[in-house]
């Protein structure tokens, strides 16, 4: 990504009226957002009993991701820090409830009531300190601990994130683990730089003990597990390696020769070492019978 909105301005300023409208009127963004939220909903793995759930959409923006939730019949509460984005959401008459809130301040929601949470391209904003009072570590902690509290037992939270680098990914993941979540990162299309999408899949409560992270998608639409491949590479030696002949140091039968010895002796002399004088025996080959 050439320019990251996170490095331009804080979210409530970057997504002003103009930018919010641009964001929502771009059919490309709308489509990407819909795809991402569909995938997030899939990863959320809600029980398929046909009963609508109460979900949380963190960083809901203009409600693009919420629409996917509504289409599936779920009720949702969306929160965002940008009033302009929320205004657009109101104009678009989204079905969920909207809150103007900062996720870095913690979520003011009663414990154990939410059945699942999704967040599309939002959590990486927490890694920025936009005000002098902001501390990314503390804000991430406040966010994840309050989220852990409000989720019901066994509920999942899926965040699609664009971490800027490995450190940022670690920072987010560590904060989540400290809050008590289990889970990990699912990477879709790991080999494509453009289509590559990362999802943080977190589970809370008892079920999280044996929660396994689902596999990411690959080009063919088949799931592929990136972790396994990495492990294989690290732990087992490839067969081709085993059969490659071992490199032997070259041995020259004739030895180093008189010239070489003379050169070395000169070198040592120049360095001021005590060197035996050159005679007719210097560098001469011994007789065979020796």
């Amino acid at each position: 990504m050439a320019s990251r909105p996170e490095s331009i301005a804080p979210p409530e300023i970057f997504y002003d009226d103009v930018e919010a409208r641009k964001y929502t009127s771009s059919s490309r963004i709308v489509q990407i957002q819909a795809e991402l939220s569909e995938r997030a909903l899939e990863l959320l793995a809600l029980p398929e009993d046909g009963v609508p759930k109460l979900l949380l959409d963190i960083g809901c923006g203009s409600g693009l991701s919420g629409e996917t939730l509504s289409e599936d019949g779920h009720h949702w509460i969306g929160l965002d820090i940008s009033p302009s984005m929320l205004n657009i959401a109101v104009e678009r008459e989204v079905e969920g409830d909207l809150l103007l809130a900062d996720m870095g301040q913690g979520l003011g929601i009663r414990p154990g009531v939410i059945d699942g949470a999704i967040s599309i391209s939002a959590v990486q904003w927490l890694c920025n300190a936009d005000k002098s009072s902001h501390n990314p570590r503390l804000r991430l902690k406040a966010f994840f601990t309050s989220l852990y509290k409000c989720l019901s037992n066994g509920a999942r939270a899926v965040f699609q994130v664009y971490p800027e680098n490995i450190d940022q990914r670690e920072l987010i993941l560590n904060a989540a683990m400290r809050a008590g979540f289990a889970g990990g990162i699912v990477v879709d299309f790991p080999h494509s730089s453009k289509k590559r999408k990362e999802f943080l899949v977190l589970t809370c409560g008892q079920r999280s003990m044996n929660a396994s992270v689902p596999n990411g998608k690959d080009e063919d639409g088949e799931s592929c597990s990136d972790d396994d491949m990495e492990e294989d590479e690290n732990q087992t030696v490839c067969i081709s390696d085993r059969h490659r002949p071992r490199k032997r140091p070259k041995t020259n039968k004739s030895g180093k020769g008189r010239e070489w010895i003379m050169r070395k002796k000169d070198q040592m002399k120049r360095r001021g070492n005590v060197v035996p004088p050159n005679t007719k025996y210097t560098g001469r080959k011994r007789k065979d019978r020796f």
């Binding site: 009993d49 046909g50 009963v51 609508p52 759930k53 109460l54 019949g73 009720h75 509460i77 929160l79 820090i81 009033p83 929320l86 205004n87 109101v90 079905e95 409830d97 909207l98 809150l99 103007l100 809130a101 900062d102 301040q105 913690g106 979520l107 003011g108 929601i109 009663r110 154990g112 009531v113 939410i114 005000k131 009072s133 406040a142 309050s146 409000c150 019901s152």
Partner: protein, 122 residues
Amino acid sequence: MRLLTHNMLSSNIKGVTNGFPLRIEAVKVEEKTVEMNTDFLKNMFVKIDWKVLVEASRTLGYAELPEEGDSSFLESDEFLSRFHHALLELHLEEGALICPETGRRFPVTKGIPNMLLHEDEV
């Protein structure tokens, strides 16, 4: 904002131990009809704080809910439709939510409560 959300929200100010329920100051209330889903209502009933819902719906001018909520009521269609109306169809459009402990006002405009905290409240 629906009362469903109100029933989930609590004040998040630093030092507040019990920020629930937020008191409602209603200026403008709207009603929007939504399709009823009994399964959802039955699931939500367990999670809802009934007293708070009754209180809140009265503030918004709807007094049809019984004082005490009991899961046996869930069999009655009439109860369900009232519950549904209070929970999902009443919208607080303009007004404020007030923290029960500190009295801090969270203004509600266009149906969106402003829950942003000042720096000294985090």
